[in-house]
């Protein structure tokens, strides 16, 4: 047998695993996004840094009821029984909508933001 690997190998292996995980998570997150016709309750992810009042107003404009914010300020739990809430929220500027459970709000926020930025980066629109 050849030489046994060491710390650099362990670090590289860990890095590759994380990279593969990020790709798989990103793909799965996209699949987990709610269809436009979905009603609440749901997690709505807005652009990080958006003003709280503005997010509140957009949720109301989408005919949703803001239940509460989460640890990440730009992720809101939104109630609303009328079909199409997810689509209306996206039309009002939400970058992603996800089923409330068993999702972790922080996870939804991070991946929806990354997904939106990637989509923007590779967009063919001028």
């Amino acid at each position: 047998m050849g030489d046994w690997p060491g710390h650099r190998f362990a670090l590289a292996f860990g890095g590759i695993v994380l990279l593969v995980w990020l790709v798989v998570m990103a793909v799965t997150m996209r699949l987990a996004a709610l269809p436009p016709e979905a009603p609440g309750p749901l997690l709505a992810v807005f652009e990080p840094g958006m003003n709280e009042d503005e997010m509140f107003a957009r949720i109301i404009a989408a005919k949703g009821k803001p239940v509460r914010g989460t640890a990440l300020g730009f992720v809101w739990i939104v109630q609303g029984e009328e079909a199409g809430l997810a689509g209306r929220l996206e039309a009002e500027g939400a970058i992603g909508t996800y089923s409330e459970l068993p999702f972790n709000a922080s996870l939804a926020g991070c991946f929806a933001f990354a997904d939106a930025k990637l989509a923007e980066a590779f967009s063919v629109r001028p």
Binding site: M1, P5, F9, G14, L18, L31, A71, L72, S106
Partner: protein
């Protein structure tokens, strides 16, 4: 022509780096898939109209079987080689997970999600992987290999748990379970390079004495150091299981938000990877019982500091980071001590019994956590119990004789 030039080159799948990567991926999948099952409690219970207790009992059975089946799986691994046992374990794991999706009655759920998966986890666990590593890796690299395998298991837990949470809404719980079953089948592919250690008929490694398995188990239980190690690992199981199950409600009770509790629990997973890896390195450089004692003292110190200070986001995060660093860092050192005392021939079996004690500790950690909370209306008695047990574990590791047990040492020629 020399013998060397006639020797066949090592196939790529038996190269050291391939063996380590394959073993680590097995550990990752084994630990990862089971860490996702919590996400199925709600969906499965609601779909069948079962109380949550039904699913909880299946998971409790799974943990019990995991503990009980580990020494048995270890015995098979010592007899027939780790790779074969890992492959059998993967089949049990995948069958249990897939059949759990179709379980139409509580009994079926308990048989599949509880018993089949429990056996599968035991037979494809990192203990079996580490037994293969111990036989393949040179002694000076052994502790590092235990460390990286444990770290990989921890990483599996950290990466599969959020993935499981996304799979359920993305595909629905039924298909998500089938995807996880397919993931556990991957263990078969990654077990193949470990065929390099195919100790069919339990060949006696060089320098180890001739002894039957039964005699080895008897001799180990007659060894004071082994019993002390087993007693210490009970504490590890007690502390970890108590924290895993009861820390989130404890945090909620003290006004910590669910989201922050989730972040804090993830910190355990992340820092566990670092702690496990470094514990393997430390175990390769110093006497293993000393860092093991220090780990238990530090756990007790972390628990006492946490419960004496006012609970806040900062103290919660400090606690979970500290516990993460100390979480599975006991494993490479404990496994290393088993190898030092008894050699590699029966190590999977003998580690299996030590691990059984860990699982008994887990049971008591979870059960007493709930029982004493109901009695006293507070988790404080169990926190103090955990801290006291940590000191007990620190003390019992100190007298361990870190050398080959007399019965297992090969007689030297006169």
């Amino acid at each position: 022509m020399t013998d060397q030039s006639l020797a066949k080159p090592t196939p790529w799948y038996y190269l050291p780096a391939v063996i380590i990567v394959a073993g680590c991926i097995v550990a990752m999948i084994n630990f990862g898939v089971r860490s996702s099952f919590g996400f199925f409690t709600g969906p499965i219970s609601e779909a069948h109209g079962w109380p949550r207790e039904t699913f909880s009992l299946a998971m409790a059975l799974q943990n019990l079987l995991w503990g009980v089946a580990t020494p048995i799986a270890g015995a098979f691994a010592d007899r027939y080689g780790s790779a074969r046992v890992l492959i059998a374990g993967a089949l049990f794991y995948a069958a249990g997970t897939a059949l759990m999706a179709g379980a139409a009655s509580p009994l079926m759920l308990h048989l599949t999600g509880g018993i089949l998966i429990g056996i599968g986890i035991a037979a494809s666990s990192f203990g079996i992987v580490m037994a293969a590593f111990a036989r393949l890796v040179p002694p000076e690299k052994r502790s590092w290999a235990f460390g990286i395998a444990t770290a990989a298991g921890s990483m599996g837990q950290a990466i599969f748990a959020p993935l499981g949470g996304v799979l359920v809404p993305a595909f629905g719980w039924y298909q998500a379970l089938l995807i996880l079953a397919a993931c556990s089948l991957l263990i078969i592919v990654f077990a193949l390079p470990l065929m390099a250690q195919n100790s069919s008929k339990s060949a006696r490694p060089a320098g180890e004495t001739e002894m039957s398995m039964r005699a080895a188990i008897k001799a180990a239980f007659g060894n004071r150091s082994y019993n002390l190690l087993t007693a210490g690992f009970f504490v590890c199981g007690f502390q970890l299981a108590f924290i895993t199950i009861h820390l989130p409600p404890f945090l909620r009770e003290h006004g910590i938000s669910n989201e922050f509790a989730g972040i804090a629990m993830s910190a355990i997973g992340f820092f566990n990877v670092i702690g496990s890896y470094y514990s393997g390195i430390i175990g390769g450089k110093y006497a293993k019982r000393i860092p093991l004692s220090i780990i238990y003292v530090l756990r007790s110190a972390a628990i006492v500091t946490f419960i004496l200070l006012p609970i806040s986001n900062v103290t919660t995060l400090m606690f979970t980071i500290s516990m993460g660093l100390l979480w599975l860092s006991t494993v490479p050192l404990t496994m290393g001590l088993v190898t030092v005392m008894f050699g590699t021939r029966y190590m999977a079996t003998l580690y299996g019994f030590v691990f059984l004690s860990h699982q008994v500790g887990s049971f008591f950690g979870v059960w007493l956590g709930g029982r004493l909370y109901d009695q006293f209306g507070s988790y404080d008695p169990v926190w103090w119990m955990g801290a006291a047990l940590g000191l007990f574990a620190a003390l019992v590791h100190l007298p361990i004789r870190e050398k080959r047990s007399d019965r297992f040492a090969q007689a030297q020629p006169a």
